[in-house]
Symmetry: C2
């Protein structure tokens, strides 16, 4: 991955990405919309729009007549000009989705993975799933930019390595990105599952998506974080082990070796059939996150949560509201993910699109 320095090529990519982001958020836009959103001059925006139009990423779609004065050209993204495939690799299933440039999920397919599957088995499943997906769906001339993989960790996003995968035996230091690129003949992006998930939520909500978390309750409890306008992965791509934070000192021993982890306390309550108590435990953890990170938005997701969505939503929303010091200026929105079971796979695809059309990431020193 070549290093990005601050020069005029960066300016081009950065400002084009801003226009794309405006297009994705508001549907249709004009030059003046982008001027207001970005602070660039009208002339600069015209130039950026012209380049994106030549590249086929946006197109004029009509005019707005202001009454007196020249009509303004209205633009929109060309959603079907670019696609990405996203994969959510869980312990027993592989979910694939096809996502367009606007972030719309066009197809979703789940296939089983063998128990304790190996890298070659995953690659074969990916290849046949992608072949089936691109066979079924006519991309209509749209380019397939690559494949994003959201997977259980721990993994090393920067190097494309799966360090180990909890509950799987054959995944020690596997260079998954490299071998997948060779096997699939497409660019591949690899990230932790919850990081892909929070990226999907960031795409759904647009620029107003401030500091936020995605809480995933599905074969364990994890969290993905969106901080300062970007996904937070941590020093070793290991951030998000939310389920393994202690909330009950001297509580039951967890599989991770600690005592009183949120996950084990939650699971004991759930196994006792006490969903309300399980939900309240998650709520305690969520408020801990708010106290630590001051998040504006918490999104709840995951198959195990979706069995009792209202119970979890109510418990978390109530705890967030009831926590002392909640005032008019210190609010946190709590929602369920609108992407449902596709959230991780969709986010993985969006990460691929971000690599091509998103804000370039400077590497200061």
């Amino acid at each position: 991955m070549t290093r990005i320095t601050a020069d005029v090529t960066f300016l081009r990519g950065y400002n084009q990405a801003l226009v794309m982001a405006v297009g994705r958020t508001v549907g249709t836009f004009e030059r003046s919309t982008v001027v207001q959103a970005t602070g660039l001059t009208p002339q600069a925006v015209s130039k950026v729009i012209a380049r994106l139009t030549v590249d086929g990423l946006i197109r004029p779609t009509g005019v707005r007549r202001p009454g007196v004065g020249k009509p303004a050209v209205v633009y929109e993204l060309v959603p079907h000009s670019r696609y990405a495939i996203g994969a959510h690799v869980a312990r027993r299933t592989l979910r694939l989705v096809l996502v367009d440039l606007a972030g719309t999920v066009h197809h979703s397919a789940v296939s089983p993975l063998p128990r304790d599957f190996t890298p070659p088995q995953l690659l074969d499943a990916l290849a046949s799933g992608i072949k089936a997906m691109t066979g079924v769906n006519d991309l209509g001339g749209g380019q397939l930019t690559g494949v994003g993989i959201g997977m259980i960790g721990p993994l090393d996003h920067a190097h494309g390595l799966v360090r180990g995968a909890h509950g799987l035996r054959h995944w020690h230091d596997v260079p998954l990105r490299e071998i997948a690129e060779k096997h699939l003949g497409l660019p591949v992006h690899l990230d932790k599952d919850v990081t892909a998930g929070i990226t999907a939520e960031a795409w759904r909500h647009g620029a107003t998506f401030g500091d936020a978390a995605l809480i995933m309750i599905e074969s364990g409890i994890g969290g993905g974080f969106w901080l300062g306008g970007t996904a937070h992965r941590g020093a070793h791509t290991n951030a998000g082990e939310f389920g393994h934070t202690v909330v009950d000192l001297n509580g039951p021993r967890c599989v991770c070796g600690r005592h009183g982890c949120l996950e084990i306390v939650h699971n004991h309550a759930a196994e006792a059939g006490d969903v309300a108590r399980a939900a309240r435990v998650v709520a305690v953890g969520v408020v801990n996150l708010l106290q630590t990170l001051d998040l504006a938005h918490v999104v709840l997701a995951g198959a195990d949560l979706l069995r009792h969505p209202e119970a979890y939503l109510a418990a978390v929303a109530e705890a967030v509201q009831a926590d002392v010091r909640r005032t008019a200026w210190l609010t946190t929105k709590v929602t369920l993910s609108s992407l449902g079971a596709d959230v991780i796979a969709a986010g993985a695809a969006m990460q691929v699109l971000d690599q091509h059309y998103g804000i370039p990431e400077l590497a200061p020193i």
Copy 2:
């Protein structure tokens, strides 16, 4: 505060900040040092160095003779060309420091604040303290760029407001930055105390300071976070209420209204004279942060911690090491702050210097 768009002015500020950062980190440097660290071309670096030299921020300090070949010019920062004053506002004391362009603390002074002091009382104390400090210290032609204030919260960094200050009655929605700028006749930067503190650590450690936290144990327990190369403040500047995260479900009721907060559990142990147990409680909370955020470095600080520094350091380091899944690639360094009691005031001053000479912060949308 004018908005920063991505244009050539941004490129200038950004690349100059990189050179300044290299200078701060390595002491002396050459053109080739900066080329390697930043990825810019040698010619670009020469241009940046020339501009900084004209501005008096760096200067040639010698040559390195490579044996065969033209000698390379060696440069250094001009530390005494710029200063900032930092203030740490606690409930009963005001600490002021004078910091130069290299981050060196030249003077530190503590004065008492009246119980339950008011904004006018603070402003008077700041004014007389700054006057005393600039009187005692001949700045030798160096420019005083402004005053940084690190204060207890909650506060609104973006708007320069103190929303309220825990334990103080006269601080509801006080526009402290604005009134301080008027009173002092200097630019003022306002931030939460622990955010200033972590900024000081980031300056001390340089570019290798990845994702990190500063844990402050002093009249309460708080945490400042350095994530993705910048301070994390949260949606409402309220991040860092680390002491008010629950670690003991159904534990003792905390002043914040929750039960089993780290702070109250820690304080009960400390008041019982059981320093080892108090330290272990903090260690549980620190490992929770590592699980959530995957930090590479944790720095411990604060007057109450410094009463038993080795006990806290040992407990935290042991817990970090013993946590399951610690492997060769998943390590976290634990240290005591080398700035001691000055860490917050020094960081506040460094934030002012960063505003002038640090990386400009783009406002995407």
